[in-house]
């Protein structure tokens, strides 16, 4: 049997046919079933539990995010999301440079708290130079100063039924005439008690600017930026976030994003 050299003309014809086939089936074929809220989306989203458990398994008890030297701070912290809240309540506390601000700590606690900025600053502080990873893909290194969330939780005393820490914020993401959707987020007690999880009032050696969440924002260094709520008004300790807003544990989570934002 002799070797058969392929017919080159036939080859080119087949290539053309294949190319036209490929252009016929666009990716929009999947649009109808994959959107936020669709059953397929909700099914695929279950993989987030696997991600959380796998990450917690390899992390061990207190995985420390890398802390960088001061020379790694090359630019100001890029603000994202809300950068200048206009809600009445926020404008009111902003007027006197947050002198009248009080952080409320409520929910499943032995002793509800109401802490001023000075009281928070008087507590032992932690300063860390860490990398902020945005869900969009960019990163920015900055120095954050604040009080460890675990210290605030200890002062309030957490009841045994407590499972999540919910951050209630001053900023509204979707302003309509009839409605305000206030930003909120939630983390579990493992993230909340992490030594690098701080309520930050300082950025790069200065008071936290408004664009970055003044007067108080949270840093959760094992997760992405959208977990790190800014303009925190109150901390609520709960056993479930199913009844809060859309029930998914956060403003972006209610819009299809994963609750565990470690990746």
């Amino acid at each position: 049997m002799s070797k058969i050299a392929p017919d080159r003309r036939r080859l080119l014809g087949q290539l053309g046919a294949a190319a036209s086939l490929l252009t016929l089936g666009g990716c929009d074929a999947f649009d109808g079933v994959l959107g936020v809220g669709d059953p397929v989306h909700n099914f695929l989203r279950k993989a987030n539990v696997l991600t959380r458990e796998a990450q917690r398994a390899i992390q061990g008890p207190a995985p420390m995010a890398r802390e960088y030297p001061a020379s790694a701070i090359r630019e100001g912290q890029r603000p994202n999301g809300s950068t200048d809240p206009q809600t009445d309540d926020y404008l009111a506390i902003q007027k006197d440079d947050f002198a009248g601000y009080r952080l409320q700590v409520t929910g499943l606690v032995d002793k509800p708290l109401s802490l001023s900025l000075n009281e928070l600053r008087a507590m032992p502080s932690r300063t860390q130079i860490t990398r902020h990873d945005c869900v969009e893909g960019w990163s920015c290194i900055a120095q954050w100063t604040g009080v460890q969330l675990s210290r605030v939780l200890d002062r309030a005393g957490i009841k045994p039924a407590a499972r999540y820490v919910v951050f209630r914020c001053y900023d509204s993401m979707d302003d309509t005439l009839s409605d305000q959707t206030l930003y909120y987020e939630s983390i579990d007690l493992i993230s909340a008690r992490h030594p690098q999880t701080i309520l930050a009032y300082g950025l790069n050696g200065q008071a936290l600017p408004i664009a970055n969440g003044a007067p108080l924002r949270v840093r959760i260094e094992q997760q992405l930026g959208y977990k790190m709520a800014k303009y925190i008004r109150a901390i609520e300790i709960v056993d479930s976030f199913a009844k809060i807003a859309g029930g998914n544990g956060g403003y972006w989570e209610d819009r299809g994003y994963d609750w565990y934002a470690g990746s």
Binding site: Q14, P63, E75, G76, I141
Partner: protein, 272 residues
């Protein structure tokens, strides 16, 4: 069998990956993103640093005198990519996203869903690769068919020439170029994609900070992840062209059933 798991998984990983890329279609070198003069300067925001710009690739739309154009900027050199990158769609309904609608899942911009799809299929890809690797080591497929030997490399020049002449001898064993490309994809690119993907995760970086050192930072890992995607897409295109060139019916049968009809007499009619 794993072949079609690869095909479906990689299809969804690439298209959802491009969706994720579109959320911030800029690639940088190093630990972080040097925004240069692109730094947002909101009220009381930290000051930008015009000198700090480590951008490698930047796909965006720009307003020019003649209208808006799609621009792909590589190391500061701008290329007009209107219609494909930066700006696509029709003249009446232009779409300002880095990669066009036909290349992303979902077609419209939806980072949340892109991530959900990407991570779901990542959970398929990693076990598939592990199973493939273990099985290929145990049954000898890796050593016999994939890893190129010295004797293979001696055949390389002839193999390149015959490919250039568009002659594809039908043999049941993989030829040298095939072996080299399969080895590169399966042993280098796929595990490289998994590791650079993990390096982008702040949770994994806390557990395995050495990943940041191996890849030179989260942003370099993102850059390498993107380059790996380009290699996989290139492999896919060449793979399809080769399958068609070698006779699609015969190849499809072998991909599905493992039964390939060769030209060499001793192999003719042989079943696997």
């Amino acid at each position: 069998m794993t072949h079609w798991v690869w095909a479906v998984t990689l299809f969804f990983m690439v298209t959802s990956g491009l969706q994720i890329f579109n959320a911030h279609p800029i690639l940088y070198l190093g630990q972080q993103s040097g925004f240069g003069d692109k730094q947002y300067l909101g009220p009381q925001a930290g000051h930008g640093n015009k000198q700090f710009n480590n951008t490698i690739l930047d796909i965006h739309a720009e307003r020019h005198e003649g209208g808006i154009v799609g621009v792909t900027s590589i190391l500061g050199h701008d290329f007009d990519t209107t219609g494909l990158l930066g700006m696509s769609g029709s003249k009446d309904q232009p779409i300002y996203q880095a990669f066009p609608e036909w290349a992303t899942i979902p077609s419209y911009f939806d980072l949340a869903t892109g991530r959900v799809i990407h991570f779901f299929f990542a959970w398929i890809l990693v076990p598939t690769w592990c199973v493939w690797l273990c099985a290929s080591v145990i049954n000898g497929h890796l050593w016999h068919d994939i890893v190129p030997k010295l004797s293979d490399l001696r055949l390389l020049p002839g193999d390149i020439i015959s490919h250039l002449r568009l002659e594809f001898p039908r043999k049941r064993s993989y030829n040298v170029l095939q072996k080299l490309s399969y080895a590169a994809i399966l042993i280098l690119v796929i595990p490289g994609m998994i590791l650079t993907g993990l390096t982008m995760s702040p949770g994994v970086d806390s557990a395995w900070p050495w990943l940041l050192d191996v890849f030179g930072g989260r942003q370099t890992a993102r850059l390498l992840h993107f380059c790996g995607m380009l290699v996989i897409v290139l492999f896919f295109v060449v793979h399809i062209v080769m399958v068609i060139a070698a006779g699609p019916i015969n190849e499809m049968r072998s991909m599905i059933t493992g039964w390939y009809r060769g030209d060499d007499p001793e192999a003719a009619g042989g079943g696997a």
